[in-house]
Amino acid sequence: MRHVIDPMDLSVAEVDELLALADDIIKDKSRYAEVCHGKKLATLFFEPSTRTRLSFEAAMMELGGNVLGFSEAASSSAAKGESVGDTVRVVSCYADIIAMRHPKEGAPMMASMKSLVPIINAGDGGHNHPTQTLTDILTIHREKGRLDNLTIGCCGDLMFGRTVHSLIKAMSRYENVKFILISPEELKIPSYIKTEVLKKQNIEYEEVTSLEEAIPKLDILYMTRVQRERFFNEADYVRLKDSYILDKAKLKGASKDLAILHPLPRVNEISTEVDNDPRAKYFDQALNGKYIRMALIMKLLGLSI
């Protein structure tokens, strides 16, 4: 039985397989409409989430399967004091596969030790969110037709942004991928990502503070939000916040083939005036999230058409 807890749990070959399956699903959804007939997905969301839970549920429904579960801890037996391990053990008697989100880091890993069915980590605190990483990779692949020979700019809060950390780890496995890390000094990428991933694998990267200067070099721009609460003082936040808001003016120097990604939710870090730009791919990315989850559910259940 296979679980997906960490984005790196899947080999490059397995990721390729998932991308090919997702592409095939997108090509002709009707062929997959009954593939999960009679199967049940349990969504155990111990903290609220909109996109992730709904995209998992939509994915299972589009595969012809059924969905059960809860969307917050208060409506689960956790409110009565049941351990997460017991909850998962019981639910695994009722469902064929579980997607689980929990605020505590490592909760899905622990769940995988108790469960009788495959567990998909749907986010564990600030730790891992593998289906977001797969979504990002599918989007890059669909937009660029490749995962190698790319310059990827990651912009915003690179210190606390788990999606960026996972994306860097996952994309580091492909040839000639270069990263430009764009952030304020206060929110630079943690040193362990540099030493344990980038330097260890001899991956070219640069750390810069100006989005405008970096943007012309990029194939992919991965935006994240600079949050007020990450700053020690309000003055620094006010001084810096606009530098990392993407608008039409900042896009002037960008390549016409740039793809702009964002894991969402967006607050104000991408101006809505960018939404109609053909390079804005973040809503396509959200849709891709459903397709890659369909592919992952099929793979973990060992199903094919």
């Binding site: 391990g85 929990h102 880091e105 490592g106 909760a107």
Partner: protein, 141 residues
């Protein structure tokens, strides 16, 4: 100062100076009924100073994983009738189970009762251990 050699027991030698008490606690030697000698700051040609632990009972079950985690250079000698009959090799173990606790307040181990505290060796060269659940680096040694 002299401490008698033991007839039947276990000697942990070449403990880095100052670590004997830590090892004593991790190995739960306080729970033993037999004589245990803790020698601190013993002169050593190799290290300058070292600690030694002598356990006067050869039936004690010593957790070699704990020793390998604290310091794989420690030597473990089994003594029978006053002679060393076996020297056990220790090395940093691949997994540490219920030896140390994860200190990350956001880790599931802080709220989920009765689950094993598991750490995995992620880099043998630097002897880096990470929590099997949240992947936090184990700092305490």
């Amino acid at each position: 100062m002299t401490i008698d050699s033991i007839q039947n027991g276990i000697v942990l030698d070449h403990i880095r100076a100052g670590r004997a008490m830590k090892l004593y606690h991790y190995l739960e030697l306080d729970k033993l009924d037999c004589t245990v000698a803790i020698m601190k700051n013993v002169k050593s040609n190799k290290y300058g100073k070292k600690d030694i632990l002598k356990i006067d009972d050869d039936n004690v079950d010593i957790n070699l994983d704990v020793i390998g985690y604290i310091d794989p250079d420690i030597t473990v000698s089994i003594i029978k009738d006053g002679k060393t009959i076996e020297k056990k090799q220790v090395e940093a173990p691949e997994k540490l189970i219920n030896v140390v606790k994860c200190m990350n307040p956001r880790c599931i181990t802080t709220t989920e009762q009765e689950i094993d505290q598991i750490f995995k060796l992620t880099d043998r060269a630097t002897r880096t251990y990470r929590c099997a659940y949240c992947e936090s680096k184990l700092k305490e040694k």
